[in-house]
Amino acid sequence: MSVLILLLSLSCAARAQAPQAIADAQKKYDAGDFAGAAAVLGPAAKAAPGDAALQYDLGNALLKAGRLGPAIASYQRAFDLRPRDADIRYNLNFALKQAGEELVPSGVPPLVFKLFYFLSERELAGLQWLGAWAALLLGAVYVRKASWRPALRPWALAALGLWVCAAAWWGTRLATWPSNLAVIVKGPADVRSGPGENFGVSFTAPEGRRVQILTDGGAWLEIGVLKEGVRGWLPASDVERVADAQ
């Protein structure tokens, strides 16, 4: 438990800088200095990668400054942290449309998508561990104290249910969405058939398109484009990893 408290305190310390950065950036943003606002929010978002508001604000500043790719990367981080936030969903979808994508994949009912992404992966993981703690501790008592079993039984079952449901939800999310997500930040990027310029260009991808990193070859990455399902190689400098800041 002391480790948990330590983690909580570290998180709070990083978040303490966020309000000042947001206030400074807001002044620049309101004055139309979007690049200046992004310069203020960038280090703050890196210092507090778990703060969805900072990532969202950074995405706003970058998008207004004309940097679509980095803006989508920041919005995606904010969405990963707080997927049920209506503003984050709206702005991410707004930016994705400019890159030829949409937040809700075609064929998926918006309500289903909204429910499936109501909780973040981090929250689902935490909920799963909370269920595990409760179910196992209650189970330990249940096993030892036969006389307490009638009173413990509903609580232990509820905790077990929470554990199973959260774990299933979390597992489904991990299985259906790539963890090594990245965004193309230089567009149109030449995607080649191999890791080097001596390979021909297979296709070009616009800035802001979300891709999955399939192979990390150092200076060159093999990527798969989520929407079209095609794959190829491009320089590592052409993409920004979404999970880097977290």
Binding site: V3, I22, D51, N60, D85, G126, L136, A140, V143
Partner: protein, 613 residues
């Protein structure tokens, strides 16, 4: 200018009884209807209609005139969602002969309707004195006015072609001049065939110029045709030969001594035509590619010298209003081939299709003029908006460098729109009638989150998810609990051992119960029962009927080295408890029971230690 409108306007809708179909009109007008033979007439044909793309007029045969296309212009308007445009086509007409000339009706077919103008009468008067004239006019003029003593070595008529430069860049103008000279009378209109110009775009430069010139002492009448050429590819390009076919009068000398003199004399002056085919020399132009150094991504191939300006039709508007942005490229070069400059990103505006209108000035042998690109911008948001600077990249051959023309940003004051107002309402696109309520006027991202919005629950769950090592703990606790439980279960499988292990605990519980009894007899009975059952459990004998003697015998069998002191204490306590059970009740029975309970506890502890669990 005494401009006379002679046009006719026919609307197709009139024929349909005033139906609401789109109407196209065509008008034709000339700048003068009386013209000298050596002068020219400007004919302007205007087509108007409610569409962005209108067809070209179909000019009829004009046998009385030579026709040259000189200019076109286009205007476009977009008001309250209604598109209308007007195209003007300008022609230069050079009369062939004096007398009454006619421009027949000019027709236009659009959407199945045919509209046409009325015929226009032009009166052509003979050429004025001292003015240049056509070859025919020159041939009809008194010989003394144009004829000069001929030099025997000079040809009677010939054609020349020349260019102003033999080396040019791709898309740089090359001026081709073809001249036809004649020093003799022509029997008809000479037939001119332009040279082949493969690899060039051509632009006629009317009007045709005529005049007289003295070459090598001989007086010639000449006609000059200029053409602007724009090479489309690099390399050595050839301009073919220009050809002129002309009929001249055969010069036959009369020999008074020949036998046919009389016949020749009377035939002289009749048709003795001789056809002459004249050709110029082909010309080779060395076309250079545009340099790669300095070429920008925005460069679209424009070559020449240009300037760039832009303006809006208003300085203030409301959200949803249409504001026309006009971007004008002006200068010398192939303006027809210039594409619209790319608009910079304007997230505060919606922009609609760009329409271009070209106005050319071909005087001086140079294609110049301006091209205007009009874009309708609709502000999405209110406030002080800015249209970013526009840029246009071109190659200047005189500087041999790429040049970027740039405009200044344009400020636009935009007030909030009115719901249901007269502007463009995107929410109502395709709707039969405007619905009350909100109308979308802009699309933009939502504003900043001005406070960190991470809840304590979120932080707790995040910390729990991050504490991966700590999360092993509940598994360990559960495992330990389960293991100990199983161990207990296995231990309790032997009822004799279980009875032995539980003996002391059960006896002490009975002693505790005895201490709560108010009657000394009952307390003594419970304590006696506790001792009896303890020994029965430990020795695995029935408690019922267990006597002190048998208990001691069993103890000595279990523990042969049983201390005598412990056996004596057992005997003493056993007998005391028996005595208390049957003694008469005293006034302080409870207190006496308390002392015996302590003695019994001590005995049980000593026995348990000696016998073992």
């Amino acid at each position: 200018m005494n401009r006379l409108r002679i046009a006719a306007l026919i609307a197709a809708g009139m024929a349909l009884g005033g139906s609401a179909r789109a109407q196209v009109s065509i008008t034709a007008e000339v700048d003068k209807n009386v013209v000298a033979l050596n002068d020219q007439v400007a004919l302007t044909v205007t087509i108007s209609g409610p569409a962005s793309s209108l067809p070209q007029p179909q000019l009829p045969q004009l046998p009385d005139f030579s026709v040259y296309s000189s200019n076109t212009s286009q205007s476009f308007s977009f008001v309250n969602g209604q598109v209308s445009s007007s195209n003007q086509y300008m022609y230069v007409l050079v009369p062939h002969r004096p007398g009454q000339g006619t421009i027949p009706p000019i027709s236009l077919t659009y959407n199945g309707q045919t509209v046409r103008t009325a015929p226009i009468q032009i009166e052509v008067s003979p050429a004025g004195a001292g003015a240049a004239s056509t070859p025919q006019a020159a041939a009809q003029a008194p010989p003394g006015k144009v004829a000069q003593p001929q030099a025997a070595a000079q040809p009677d008529l010939f054609v020349t072609a020349d260019v102003d430069k033999r080396r040019a860049y791709v898309n740089q103008q090359v001026l081709l001049t073809v001249k036809f000279y004649t020093a003799v009378s022509l029997l008809g209109n000479p037939q001119y065939k332009a040279p082949s110009t493969s690899g060039f775009l051509t632009e006629d430069l009317p009007p045709e110029r005529h005049g007289t010139v003295v070459l090598h002492g001989r007086n010639y009448y000449f006609s000059e045709i200029k053409t602007a050429l724009f090479p489309t590819q690099a390399g050595r390009l050839t301009i073919g030969a220009a050809t002129v076919a002309a009929e001249v009068e055969r010069q036959a000398a009369l020999d008074p001594f020949s036998s046919g003199f009389v016949e020749q004399f009377f035939n002289q002056g009749l048709s003795q035509a001789e056809e002459r085919d004249l050709r110029s020399q082909p010309i080779i132009v060395d076309v250079l590619p545009l340099p790669a150094q300095g070429k920008t991504a925005q460069f679209s191939g424009a070559v020449g010298r240009f300037s760039l300006t832009d303006s809006t039709d208003r300085s203030s508007a409301k959200v949803g209003d249409a504001v026309t942005l006009s971007v004008t490229i002006k200068g010398e070069g192939n303006l027809k081939a210039i594409a619209a400059p790319a608009l910079p990103p304007m997230p505060d505006f919606r922009s609609y299709d760009t329409v271009g209108a070209t106005s050319l000035d071909k005087s001086g042998g140079v294609v110049a003029g301006s091209k205007v690109f009009k874009t309708v911008l609709v502000p999405r948001v209110s406030g002080r908006l800015s249209i970013p600077p526009m840029t246009f990249d071109y190659f200047d051959p005189s500087r041999r460098a790429y040049v970027r023309a740039r405009t200044a940003p344009i400020g636009l004051s935009v007030a909030p729109g009115e719901a249901g107002g007269g502007g463009i309402n995107f929410a109502q696109t395709g709707a039969a009638a405007p619905a009350p309520g909100l109308a979308e006027v802009s699309q933009d991202i939502r504003y900043l989150h001005t406070a960190a919005d991470r809840s304590p629950v979120d932080a707790f769950l995040a910390a729990l998810a991050a504490a991966r090592g700590l999360n092993v703990l509940p598994f360990l606790v559960f495992g330990a609990s389960l293991g100990s439980s199983q161990y207990e279960r296995l231990r309790n499988l032997d009822p004799r051992r279980r009875r032995r292990r539980a003996a002391l605990k059960s006896a002490l519980k009975r002693v505790e119960q005895a201490q709560t009894q108010a009657q000394q007899r009952q307390a003594a009975a419970l304590m006696s029962e506790a001792l009896n059952h303890y020994l029965a459990d430990k020795l695995d004998v029935p408690a019922l009927g267990l006597t002190l003697k048998r208990a001691l015998e069993s103890l000595r069998q279990e523990r042969p080295a049983l201390p005598e002191e412990l056996a004596g204490r057992l005997r003493e306590v056993w007998q005391d408890l028996d005595a208390l059970q049957f003694a008469p009740p005293g006034p302080d029975g409870a207190a006496a029971g308390g002392q015996d309970a302590e003695r019994l506890r001590g005995l049980l502890a000593s026995l348990d230690k000696e016998i073992g669990p």
